[in-house]
Protein backbone atom coordinates (compact mmCIF):
# COMPACT_ATOMS: atom_id res chain seq x y z
CA UNK A 1 0.00 0.00 0.00
CA UNK A 2 1.20 3.48 -0.85
CA UNK A 3 1.49 5.87 2.10
CA UNK A 4 2.13 9.15 0.28
CA UNK A 5 3.12 10.77 -2.99
CA UNK A 6 5.32 13.84 -3.35
CA UNK A 7 5.06 16.35 -6.18
CA UNK A 8 8.31 18.25 -6.61
CA UNK A 9 7.64 21.52 -8.42
CA UNK A 10 9.09 22.34 -11.83
CA UNK A 11 8.49 25.30 -14.12
CA UNK A 12 5.44 27.21 -15.33
CA UNK A 13 4.57 28.06 -18.95
CA UNK A 14 7.02 30.98 -19.01
CA UNK A 15 9.82 28.82 -17.67
CA UNK A 16 9.77 30.38 -14.20
CA UNK A 17 10.09 28.19 -11.14
CA UNK A 18 6.73 27.19 -9.66
CA UNK A 19 5.91 29.06 -6.43
CA UNK A 20 4.97 25.77 -4.73
CA UNK A 21 8.12 23.69 -4.48
CA UNK A 22 6.74 20.55 -2.91
CA UNK A 23 3.34 19.00 -2.19
CA UNK A 24 2.88 15.82 -0.17
CA UNK A 25 -0.39 13.93 -0.45
CA UNK A 26 -1.06 11.26 2.12
CA UNK A 27 -3.17 8.12 2.00
CA UNK A 28 -6.85 8.88 2.60
CA UNK A 29 -6.57 12.53 1.58
CA UNK A 30 -8.68 14.14 -1.13
CA UNK A 31 -6.90 16.95 -2.95
CA UNK A 32 -8.59 19.43 -5.29
CA UNK A 33 -6.92 21.11 -8.25
CA UNK A 34 -8.46 24.47 -9.16
CA UNK A 35 -7.66 27.32 -11.53
CA UNK A 36 -8.92 28.98 -14.72
CA UNK A 37 -9.01 27.05 -18.00
CA UNK A 38 -5.54 26.71 -19.48
CA UNK A 39 -3.88 27.16 -16.09
CA UNK A 40 -2.29 23.71 -16.25
CA UNK A 41 -4.65 21.57 -14.13
CA UNK A 42 -4.83 18.68 -16.58
CA UNK A 43 -1.06 18.83 -17.14
CA UNK A 44 -0.49 18.46 -13.41
CA UNK A 45 -2.78 15.43 -13.34
CA UNK A 46 -0.99 14.11 -16.45
CA UNK A 47 2.38 14.42 -14.70
CA UNK A 48 1.10 12.34 -11.81
CA UNK A 49 -0.47 9.74 -14.11
CA UNK A 50 2.87 9.26 -15.88
CA UNK A 51 4.76 9.51 -12.55
CA UNK A 52 6.87 12.15 -14.34
CA UNK A 53 10.61 12.24 -13.67
CA UNK A 54 11.50 15.71 -14.94
CA UNK A 55 10.71 14.41 -18.41
CA UNK A 56 7.53 16.38 -19.12
CA UNK A 57 6.95 19.97 -20.17
CA UNK A 58 6.77 21.13 -16.53
CA UNK A 59 9.90 19.22 -15.42
CA UNK A 60 8.06 18.09 -12.29
CA UNK A 61 9.15 15.02 -10.41
CA UNK A 62 6.80 12.61 -8.65
CA UNK A 63 8.00 10.42 -5.78
CA UNK A 64 6.04 7.51 -4.37
CA UNK A 65 6.76 6.88 -0.69
CA UNK A 66 9.77 9.17 -1.14
CA UNK A 67 11.29 7.00 -3.85
CA UNK A 68 11.57 7.32 -7.63
CA UNK A 69 9.23 4.73 -9.16
CA UNK A 70 10.87 2.12 -11.43
CA UNK A 71 10.33 2.11 -15.20
CA UNK A 72 8.26 -1.06 -14.78
CA UNK A 73 6.06 0.63 -12.16
CA UNK A 74 5.51 3.54 -14.50
CA UNK A 75 4.51 1.61 -17.59
CA UNK A 76 3.21 -1.89 -16.89
CA UNK A 77 -0.58 -1.62 -16.48
CA UNK A 78 -0.58 -4.62 -14.12
CA UNK A 79 1.63 -2.68 -11.73
CA UNK A 80 0.16 0.73 -12.34
CA UNK A 81 -0.35 2.70 -9.19
CA UNK A 82 -2.51 5.33 -10.83
CA UNK A 83 -6.05 5.22 -12.16
CA UNK A 84 -7.05 8.24 -14.17
CA UNK A 85 -10.38 9.56 -15.34
CA UNK A 86 -9.47 12.09 -18.02
CA UNK A 87 -11.67 14.75 -19.59
CA UNK A 88 -12.42 12.64 -22.66
CA UNK A 89 -16.13 12.33 -23.26
CA UNK A 90 -16.07 9.67 -25.95
CA UNK A 91 -14.47 6.36 -26.72
CA UNK A 92 -12.61 5.96 -30.01
CA UNK A 93 -12.13 2.19 -29.76
CA UNK A 94 -14.22 0.36 -32.34
CA UNK A 95 -15.55 -2.57 -30.27
CA UNK A 96 -18.41 -3.60 -28.03
CA UNK A 97 -18.70 -2.60 -24.37
CA UNK A 98 -18.33 -6.24 -23.25
CA UNK A 99 -15.24 -6.94 -25.40
CA UNK A 100 -13.65 -3.69 -24.35
CA UNK A 101 -14.09 -4.33 -20.64
CA UNK A 102 -12.92 -7.95 -20.99
CA UNK A 103 -9.75 -6.75 -22.74
CA UNK A 104 -9.13 -4.06 -20.16
CA UNK A 105 -9.63 -6.50 -17.29
CA UNK A 106 -7.04 -8.74 -18.97
CA UNK A 107 -4.57 -5.82 -19.27
CA UNK A 108 -4.93 -4.97 -15.62
CA UNK A 109 -4.86 -8.59 -14.48
CA UNK A 110 -8.41 -8.28 -13.12
CA UNK A 111 -11.04 -11.01 -13.09
CA UNK A 112 -13.52 -11.40 -15.95
CA UNK A 113 -16.35 -11.10 -13.44
CA UNK A 114 -15.58 -7.38 -13.26
CA UNK A 115 -17.22 -6.78 -16.62
CA UNK A 116 -20.82 -7.06 -15.46
CA UNK A 117 -20.06 -5.18 -12.24
CA UNK A 118 -18.69 -2.26 -14.29
CA UNK A 119 -21.80 -2.07 -16.47
CA UNK A 120 -24.08 -2.29 -13.42
CA UNK A 121 -22.23 0.50 -11.63
CA UNK A 122 -22.18 2.67 -14.77
CA UNK A 123 -25.94 2.29 -15.06
CA UNK A 124 -26.46 3.71 -11.58
CA UNK A 125 -24.67 6.90 -12.70
CA UNK A 126 -26.37 7.65 -15.99
CA UNK A 127 -29.87 7.86 -17.41
CA UNK A 128 -30.06 5.55 -20.43
CA UNK A 129 -28.90 2.01 -19.62
CA UNK A 130 -25.70 0.66 -21.19
CA UNK A 131 -25.62 -2.94 -22.40
CA UNK A 132 -22.67 -5.28 -22.95
CA UNK A 133 -23.44 -5.63 -26.65
CA UNK A 134 -23.55 -1.86 -27.34
CA UNK A 135 -20.78 -0.47 -29.53
CA UNK A 136 -18.54 1.87 -27.50
CA UNK A 137 -18.53 4.54 -30.17
CA UNK A 138 -22.31 4.99 -30.19
CA UNK A 139 -22.58 5.65 -26.44
CA UNK A 140 -23.64 9.18 -25.49
CA UNK A 141 -21.27 11.53 -23.65
CA UNK A 142 -22.95 10.77 -20.32
CA UNK A 143 -22.96 7.00 -20.91
CA UNK A 144 -19.29 7.03 -21.96
CA UNK A 145 -18.32 9.06 -18.96
CA UNK A 146 -20.32 6.80 -16.59
CA UNK A 147 -18.64 3.75 -18.11
CA UNK A 148 -15.21 5.36 -17.73
CA UNK A 149 -15.96 6.12 -14.06
CA UNK A 150 -17.11 2.55 -13.38
CA UNK A 151 -14.12 1.12 -15.26
CA UNK A 152 -11.69 3.22 -13.22
CA UNK A 153 -13.47 2.30 -9.97
CA UNK A 154 -13.58 -1.46 -10.54
CA UNK A 155 -11.01 -2.59 -13.13
CA UNK A 156 -8.29 0.06 -12.63
CA UNK A 157 -8.48 -0.34 -8.89
CA UNK A 158 -5.29 1.59 -8.03
CA UNK A 159 -4.16 3.32 -4.82
CA UNK A 160 -3.91 6.71 -6.55
CA UNK A 161 -7.02 8.05 -8.28
CA UNK A 162 -7.01 11.13 -10.52
CA UNK A 163 -10.29 12.67 -11.62
CA UNK A 164 -10.50 15.39 -14.24
CA UNK A 165 -13.71 17.46 -14.28
CA UNK A 166 -16.26 14.87 -13.28
CA UNK A 167 -18.99 17.55 -13.31
CA UNK A 168 -18.94 17.96 -17.09
CA UNK A 169 -20.82 14.89 -18.18
CA UNK A 170 -24.31 15.22 -16.75
CA UNK A 171 -23.81 12.19 -14.52
CA UNK A 172 -24.43 11.95 -10.79
CA UNK A 173 -21.16 13.50 -9.66
CA UNK A 174 -21.48 12.79 -5.94
CA UNK A 175 -22.18 9.11 -6.55
CA UNK A 176 -19.40 8.99 -9.11
CA UNK A 177 -16.93 10.55 -6.70
CA UNK A 178 -17.98 8.12 -3.97
CA UNK A 179 -17.43 5.16 -6.33
CA UNK A 180 -13.98 6.41 -7.31
CA UNK A 181 -12.60 7.64 -4.01
CA UNK A 182 -12.44 4.31 -2.20
CA UNK A 183 -11.27 4.02 1.39
CA UNK A 184 -7.59 4.77 2.05
CA UNK A 185 -6.80 5.98 -1.45
CA UNK A 186 -4.96 9.07 -2.58
CA UNK A 187 -7.45 11.11 -4.57
CA UNK A 188 -7.02 14.22 -6.73
CA UNK A 189 -9.99 16.00 -8.25
CA UNK A 190 -9.64 18.66 -10.93
CA UNK A 191 -12.72 20.82 -10.80
CA UNK A 192 -14.37 24.15 -11.58
CA UNK A 193 -17.26 23.28 -9.31
CA UNK A 194 -17.20 24.92 -5.85
CA UNK A 195 -19.33 22.08 -4.43
CA UNK A 196 -16.63 19.56 -5.31
CA UNK A 197 -13.71 21.88 -4.55
CA UNK A 198 -14.92 22.46 -1.00
CA UNK A 199 -15.48 18.75 -0.41
CA UNK A 200 -11.72 18.18 -0.58
CA UNK A 201 -9.24 18.46 2.32
CA UNK A 202 -6.81 20.74 0.50
CA UNK A 203 -6.62 22.26 -2.93
CA UNK A 204 -3.78 23.19 -5.25
CA UNK A 205 -4.34 26.53 -6.99
CA UNK A 206 -2.96 26.61 -10.55
CA UNK A 207 -1.99 29.64 -12.62
CA UNK A 208 -0.01 29.97 -15.81
CA UNK A 209 0.97 26.30 -15.80
CA UNK A 210 2.43 26.44 -12.29
CA UNK A 211 1.29 25.44 -8.79
CA UNK A 212 0.59 28.82 -7.18
CA UNK A 213 -0.57 27.88 -3.71
CA UNK A 214 -1.93 25.08 -1.55
CA UNK A 215 -5.08 26.03 0.37
CA UNK A 216 -6.47 24.08 3.33
CA UNK A 217 -10.25 23.87 3.33
CA UNK A 218 -11.25 25.88 6.40
CA UNK A 219 -13.99 25.01 8.90
CA UNK A 220 -16.03 27.86 7.49
CA UNK A 221 -15.62 26.46 3.99
CA UNK A 222 -16.77 23.05 5.21
CA UNK A 223 -19.98 24.71 6.42
CA UNK A 224 -20.36 26.54 3.11
CA UNK A 225 -19.82 23.20 1.38
CA UNK A 226 -22.81 21.72 3.20
CA UNK A 227 -25.01 24.65 2.16
CA UNK A 228 -23.83 24.34 -1.43
CA UNK A 229 -24.73 20.66 -1.28
CA UNK A 230 -28.34 21.59 -0.54
CA UNK A 231 -28.44 23.92 -3.57
CA UNK A 232 -26.85 21.22 -5.65
CA UNK A 233 -29.43 18.64 -4.58
CA UNK A 234 -32.17 21.07 -5.52
CA UNK A 235 -30.60 21.57 -8.95
CA UNK A 236 -30.23 17.80 -9.46
CA UNK A 237 -33.81 17.26 -8.48
CA UNK A 238 -35.00 19.96 -10.89
CA UNK A 239 -32.78 18.54 -13.62
CA UNK A 240 -34.31 15.08 -13.26
CA UNK A 241 -37.84 16.50 -13.30
CA UNK A 242 -37.19 18.57 -16.44
CA UNK A 243 -35.47 15.57 -18.07
CA UNK A 244 -38.51 13.42 -17.36
CA UNK A 245 -40.83 15.86 -19.11
CA UNK A 246 -42.41 17.47 -16.07
CA UNK A 247 -43.56 21.06 -16.15
CA UNK A 248 -42.21 23.01 -13.16
CA UNK A 249 -44.61 25.29 -11.34
CA UNK A 250 -42.38 26.64 -8.60
CA UNK A 251 -39.11 26.04 -6.76
CA UNK A 252 -39.23 24.82 -3.18
CA UNK A 253 -37.72 27.28 -0.77
CA UNK A 254 -34.49 26.07 0.84
CA UNK A 255 -32.80 27.38 3.95
CA UNK A 256 -29.13 28.12 3.49
Amino acid sequence: MIEEITIIGGYDKQGNKEPVEKVIIKKGEIFGVVGPTGSGKSSLIGDIEQLAQEDTFSKRKILVDNKEPSYEDRTNPRKKMVAQLSQNMNFLADMSVGDFLTLHAKCRGASNKCVNAVVELANTLTGEPIKNEHELTILSGGQSRALMVADVAIISNSPIVLIDEIENAGIRKHDALKALAGHGKIVMVVTHDPVLALMTDKRIVMKNGGMQNVVHTSEKEKQISEKLNKIDELMLNLRDRVRNGEILEEIEHIEI
Binding site: G46, S86, N88, L92, A93, H104, C107, V152
Partner: protein, 233 residues
Protein backbone atom coordinates in the same frame (compact mmCIF):
# COMPACT_ATOMS: atom_id res chain seq x y z
CA UNK B 1 27.94 6.60 -36.29
CA UNK B 2 24.57 5.18 -35.42
CA UNK B 3 21.59 4.92 -37.73
CA UNK B 4 18.03 5.44 -36.54
CA UNK B 5 15.19 4.56 -38.90
CA UNK B 6 11.83 6.00 -37.97
CA UNK B 7 8.66 4.72 -39.63
CA UNK B 8 5.04 5.42 -38.93
CA UNK B 9 1.66 6.30 -40.33
CA UNK B 10 1.13 9.84 -41.71
CA UNK B 11 0.27 12.33 -38.98
CA UNK B 12 1.27 10.00 -36.16
CA UNK B 13 3.76 12.53 -34.81
CA UNK B 14 7.08 11.13 -36.07
CA UNK B 15 8.59 14.56 -36.67
CA UNK B 16 7.31 16.09 -33.43
CA UNK B 17 8.65 13.21 -31.32
CA UNK B 18 11.98 13.23 -33.16
CA UNK B 19 12.46 16.97 -32.72
CA UNK B 20 12.24 16.57 -28.93
CA UNK B 21 14.57 13.56 -28.92
CA UNK B 22 17.16 15.31 -31.13
CA UNK B 23 17.01 18.43 -28.94
CA UNK B 24 17.85 16.23 -25.97
CA UNK B 25 20.84 14.77 -27.88
CA UNK B 26 21.92 18.30 -28.87
CA UNK B 27 22.03 19.23 -25.20
CA UNK B 28 24.54 16.41 -24.70
CA UNK B 29 26.69 17.77 -27.57
CA UNK B 30 25.79 14.90 -29.88
CA UNK B 31 25.25 15.78 -33.54
CA UNK B 32 22.53 14.38 -35.76
CA UNK B 33 21.71 14.54 -39.46
CA UNK B 34 18.17 13.91 -40.63
CA UNK B 35 16.92 12.59 -43.95
CA UNK B 36 13.20 12.94 -44.39
CA UNK B 37 11.69 10.70 -47.06
CA UNK B 38 8.16 11.52 -48.08
CA UNK B 39 5.99 10.93 -51.12
CA UNK B 40 4.72 14.22 -52.51
CA UNK B 41 5.31 17.04 -50.09
CA UNK B 42 7.00 17.88 -46.82
CA UNK B 43 8.10 21.01 -45.01
CA UNK B 44 9.61 19.11 -42.11
CA UNK B 45 13.10 20.18 -43.20
CA UNK B 46 12.23 23.71 -42.06
CA UNK B 47 11.17 22.36 -38.67
CA UNK B 48 14.43 20.46 -38.21
CA UNK B 49 16.39 23.50 -39.40
CA UNK B 50 14.89 25.47 -36.51
CA UNK B 51 16.63 23.23 -34.00
CA UNK B 52 19.87 23.43 -35.97
CA UNK B 53 19.90 19.87 -37.36
CA UNK B 54 21.12 19.49 -40.99
CA UNK B 55 18.30 17.96 -43.01
CA UNK B 56 17.94 16.50 -46.48
CA UNK B 57 14.60 15.85 -48.11
CA UNK B 58 13.86 12.98 -50.49
CA UNK B 59 10.54 12.90 -52.31
CA UNK B 60 9.86 9.49 -53.81
CA UNK B 61 7.01 10.80 -56.00
CA UNK B 62 5.52 7.81 -57.88
CA UNK B 63 7.88 5.31 -56.29
CA UNK B 64 7.28 3.44 -53.04
CA UNK B 65 8.91 5.68 -50.38
CA UNK B 66 10.34 2.75 -48.44
CA UNK B 67 11.97 1.21 -51.52
CA UNK B 68 13.30 4.64 -52.38
CA UNK B 69 14.68 5.14 -48.86
CA UNK B 70 16.37 1.72 -48.84
CA UNK B 71 17.98 2.32 -52.24
CA UNK B 72 19.36 5.69 -51.04
CA UNK B 73 20.66 4.52 -47.66
CA UNK B 74 24.31 4.37 -48.76
CA UNK B 75 24.32 8.01 -49.90
CA UNK B 76 22.58 9.08 -46.72
CA UNK B 77 25.26 7.39 -44.61
CA UNK B 78 28.08 9.10 -46.52
CA UNK B 79 26.35 12.49 -46.24
CA UNK B 80 25.89 12.12 -42.47
CA UNK B 81 29.55 11.01 -42.19
CA UNK B 82 30.63 14.18 -44.02
CA UNK B 83 28.61 16.15 -41.46
CA UNK B 84 30.57 14.34 -38.73
CA UNK B 85 27.28 13.33 -37.14
CA UNK B 86 26.92 10.89 -34.28
CA UNK B 87 23.48 9.93 -35.56
CA UNK B 88 21.90 9.53 -38.96
CA UNK B 89 18.15 9.69 -38.54
CA UNK B 90 16.05 8.53 -41.46
CA UNK B 91 12.38 9.33 -41.23
CA UNK B 92 10.23 7.60 -43.81
CA UNK B 93 6.59 8.09 -44.70
CA UNK B 94 5.81 4.42 -45.30
CA UNK B 95 2.92 3.64 -47.55
CA UNK B 96 1.27 0.23 -47.41
CA UNK B 97 2.57 -0.86 -43.98
CA UNK B 98 3.77 -4.10 -45.50
CA UNK B 99 7.34 -2.75 -45.58
CA UNK B 100 9.73 -2.39 -42.75
CA UNK B 101 12.64 -0.19 -43.75
CA UNK B 102 14.74 -1.23 -40.71
CA UNK B 103 18.19 -2.75 -41.26
CA UNK B 104 19.79 -5.21 -38.84
CA UNK B 105 22.09 -2.75 -37.04
CA UNK B 106 19.91 0.35 -37.04
CA UNK B 107 17.57 1.30 -34.23
CA UNK B 108 14.14 0.67 -35.71
CA UNK B 109 11.56 3.08 -34.30
CA UNK B 110 7.88 2.70 -35.11
CA UNK B 111 5.66 5.67 -34.26
CA UNK B 112 2.02 4.74 -33.91
CA UNK B 113 -1.00 6.90 -33.11
CA UNK B 114 -3.12 5.65 -30.20
CA UNK B 115 -6.27 7.37 -31.51
CA UNK B 116 -6.21 5.11 -34.58
CA UNK B 117 -7.98 2.42 -32.56
CA UNK B 118 -6.90 -0.74 -30.73
CA UNK B 119 -6.99 -2.88 -33.88
CA UNK B 120 -4.33 -0.80 -35.64
CA UNK B 121 -1.34 -2.62 -34.12
CA UNK B 122 -2.73 -5.86 -35.61
CA UNK B 123 -3.04 -4.27 -39.05
CA UNK B 124 0.28 -2.54 -39.60
CA UNK B 125 2.55 -5.58 -39.93
CA UNK B 126 6.36 -5.66 -40.07
CA UNK B 127 7.02 -2.00 -39.45
CA UNK B 128 5.71 -2.62 -35.95
CA UNK B 129 6.59 -6.30 -35.49
CA UNK B 130 10.28 -5.86 -36.42
CA UNK B 131 10.82 -2.52 -34.61
CA UNK B 132 13.10 -2.15 -31.58
CA UNK B 133 11.05 0.67 -30.12
CA UNK B 134 7.34 1.37 -30.47
CA UNK B 135 6.48 4.97 -29.70
CA UNK B 136 2.78 5.41 -28.94
CA UNK B 137 1.58 8.99 -29.49
CA UNK B 138 -1.59 10.96 -28.74
CA UNK B 139 -2.41 8.86 -25.69
CA UNK B 140 -3.70 12.01 -24.00
CA UNK B 141 -6.62 12.05 -26.46
CA UNK B 142 -8.13 8.77 -25.24
CA UNK B 143 -9.12 7.18 -21.93
CA UNK B 144 -6.57 5.42 -19.77
CA UNK B 145 -8.34 2.10 -20.42
CA UNK B 146 -8.05 2.50 -24.19
CA UNK B 147 -4.41 3.47 -23.78
CA UNK B 148 -3.70 0.32 -21.78
CA UNK B 149 -5.46 -1.89 -24.32
CA UNK B 150 -3.52 -0.25 -27.15
CA UNK B 151 -0.23 -0.89 -25.37
CA UNK B 152 -1.16 -4.54 -24.78
CA UNK B 153 -1.98 -4.96 -28.47
CA UNK B 154 1.38 -3.48 -29.48
CA UNK B 155 3.12 -6.01 -27.23
CA UNK B 156 1.03 -8.84 -28.66
CA UNK B 157 2.40 -8.01 -32.13
CA UNK B 158 5.96 -7.31 -30.94
CA UNK B 159 6.61 -8.79 -27.48
CA UNK B 160 10.28 -7.77 -27.48
CA UNK B 161 10.00 -4.10 -28.33
CA UNK B 162 10.39 -1.30 -25.86
CA UNK B 163 7.15 0.65 -25.62
CA UNK B 164 7.42 4.39 -25.07
CA UNK B 165 4.30 6.46 -24.53
CA UNK B 166 5.19 9.87 -25.88
CA UNK B 167 3.60 13.25 -26.38
CA UNK B 168 4.84 15.19 -29.40
CA UNK B 169 3.52 18.47 -28.00
CA UNK B 170 4.97 18.39 -24.49
CA UNK B 171 7.94 16.16 -25.32
CA UNK B 172 6.95 13.60 -22.71
CA UNK B 173 8.69 10.26 -23.34
CA UNK B 174 11.09 11.74 -25.92
CA UNK B 175 14.07 11.70 -23.53
CA UNK B 176 13.50 7.96 -23.19
CA UNK B 177 13.67 7.67 -26.97
CA UNK B 178 16.95 9.61 -26.96
CA UNK B 179 18.29 7.13 -24.37
CA UNK B 180 17.42 4.22 -26.68
CA UNK B 181 19.18 5.99 -29.54
CA UNK B 182 22.33 6.23 -27.41
CA UNK B 183 22.21 2.49 -26.73
CA UNK B 184 21.96 1.50 -30.43
CA UNK B 185 24.67 -0.21 -32.48
CA UNK B 186 27.21 1.32 -34.89
CA UNK B 187 26.10 1.20 -38.50
CA UNK B 188 28.20 -0.98 -40.83
CA UNK B 189 27.12 -0.45 -44.44
CA UNK B 190 28.64 -3.63 -45.84
CA UNK B 191 26.86 -5.77 -43.30
CA UNK B 192 23.54 -3.93 -43.34
CA UNK B 193 20.62 -6.07 -44.40
CA UNK B 194 16.89 -5.54 -44.23
CA UNK B 195 15.19 -7.27 -41.31
CA UNK B 196 12.17 -8.02 -43.43
CA UNK B 197 11.85 -8.49 -47.19
CA UNK B 198 10.06 -5.74 -49.10
CA UNK B 199 6.68 -6.68 -50.62
CA UNK B 200 6.35 -8.35 -53.96
CA UNK B 201 5.32 -5.97 -56.72
CA UNK B 202 6.45 -7.09 -60.12
CA UNK B 203 3.68 -6.39 -62.57
CA UNK B 204 2.53 -4.10 -65.34
CA UNK B 205 1.05 -1.66 -62.78
CA UNK B 206 4.58 -1.02 -61.50
CA UNK B 207 5.60 0.35 -64.88
CA UNK B 208 2.60 2.58 -65.34
CA UNK B 209 -0.33 0.52 -66.67
CA UNK B 210 -3.59 2.28 -65.68
CA UNK B 211 -6.22 0.02 -67.27
CA UNK B 212 -8.10 -2.14 -64.79
CA UNK B 213 -9.26 -4.94 -67.09
CA UNK B 214 -7.49 -8.24 -66.33
CA UNK B 215 -6.29 -8.87 -69.88
CA UNK B 216 -3.86 -5.94 -69.69
CA UNK B 217 -1.90 -7.30 -66.74
CA UNK B 218 1.35 -9.28 -66.78
CA UNK B 219 3.87 -10.29 -64.15
CA UNK B 220 3.15 -11.91 -60.81
CA UNK B 221 -0.60 -11.79 -60.39
CA UNK B 222 -2.45 -12.92 -57.29
CA UNK B 223 -6.19 -13.39 -57.14
CA UNK B 224 -8.36 -12.66 -54.13
CA UNK B 225 -8.82 -16.43 -53.60
CA UNK B 226 -5.04 -16.76 -53.16
CA UNK B 227 -4.37 -18.34 -56.54
CA UNK B 228 -1.16 -16.90 -58.00
CA UNK B 229 0.41 -17.11 -61.43
CA UNK B 230 3.16 -15.60 -63.48
CA UNK B 231 2.18 -14.25 -66.86
CA UNK B 232 4.75 -13.10 -69.38
CA UNK B 233 8.02 -14.15 -70.90
Amino acid sequence: MRMIIVAGTPGSGKTAVLMHALKSLNERNLKSSVVKVDCLYTDDDKKFAKIGVPTKVGLSMDMCPDHYAIYNTEDMISWAMENESDFLVMETAGLCHRCAPYTVNCLGVCVIDATSGPNTPLKVGPFLSTADVAVITKGDMISQAEREIFRERVLEVNPNCKVIEANGLSGQGCVELAEEMLKSKEVALDEEKLRHSAPLAVCTLCVGETKVNKKYHRGILRRIDGFQKYEGE
